[in-house]
Symmetry: C2
Subunit: 190 residues, 2 copies
């Protein structure tokens, strides 16, 4: 159908998840919600740590003054197939490499601790319109063997486990965990 | 030594943890900190969920308006001996029974889910100057077999695992977990 002024409208629009303007965190939150509803995993985003200074109790409890605190852990954690899971979402703007200043020292220490204690810790990296689960172990190995301040895209492709966007789920990261951690299900009942 | 006006001062004061005015949460936070420092467990209190409405960015980022949100999960979670651990602190004022309206419906559902997924979920109850780890499983069983709206102190004593206060640690709840969950260490490396 032709509109005036040569404007053509395409009525058959494809629903593209990315065009919805949902960023990485939004996609992960959708997935967490889906997994909860379908009893597949119990994973939540940790609330942003906030230091409350002043509360007005006149009408309920309205916080009048507070400040953002730096989190000690990664953003998401919970349980999947009997394992402790913790991860962070990292959006990478560069097309060529993932900057390591993206990851704070205490977050790296935290990842090491989680792994040492038998848990699963990783990053979900969005880069060049793709999504990758990057294992904490691979991050630690990379840092031990390199002095450079970023991870080349090539390494993300090699070591990372690609994650797909699913219309219902958002970003299906559990599939990535299954791939990346084959053989570590310690939950005898499931 | 006698002071004027018959006031006697006792210079040999015993340091009693309870007299420090530390409540249950304070004692648990001390323990979490100790366990982190000694690499025994990685357990943190979840930040209070807060909905931020207005932020003043003129001098850094000061939150000018926010409200408290209801948490979806229990207050503490993390990893111990390869297991996912989650628990809540409950102070009980009554000497005779632990009121069940203390526990919200969604918290109970959450406890059930965690257990179903192979994690450890419990309450730490302080009552009659004692501290008890009360397993999620025992809570669920009690609710299934009783219509009453509180758990009698006798049941807390029978089913609960007593926790000791330690001068260095605070409340040594890991010992309670060891007792309560004998034989569930799924961490092959440790």
């Amino acid at each position: 159908m032709k509109y005036p002024n040569n404007i053509q409208k395409n009525f058959k629009k494809e629903i593209n998840y990315k065009n919805r303007g949902m960023n990485l965190e939004g996609l992960i939150n959708e997935a967490c919600k889906y997994y909860l509803e379908h009893d597949l995993a119990i994973i939540y985003k940790k609330p942003t740590p906030i230091g409350v200074v002043d509360v007005d109790y006149k009408k309920g409890a309205i916080i009048k003054k507070a400040y953002f605190k730096e989190p000690s852990t990664l953003d998401y954690n919970g349980i999947y197939k009997g394992k402790y899971v913790e991860f962070d979402a990292k959006e990478c703007q560069s097309k060529t490499s993932f900057p390591l200043n993206n990851i704070y020292e205490h977050q790296l220490n935290h990842i090491k601790k989680i792994i040492r204690h038998g848990g699963i810790a990783f990053l979900i990296i969005s880069m060049n319109q793709g999504y990758y689960l990057f294992k904490g172990e691979d991050l630690i190995i990379f840092l031990k063997t390199h002095t450079r301040k970023s991870i080349p895209y090539q390494v993300i492709l090699e070591k990372g486990y690609p994650l797909k966007i699913n219309y219902n789920i958002g970003i299906d990261y559990l599939k990535g965990i299954d791939e990346a951690y084959k053989g570590v299900d310690c939950n005898n009942e499931k």
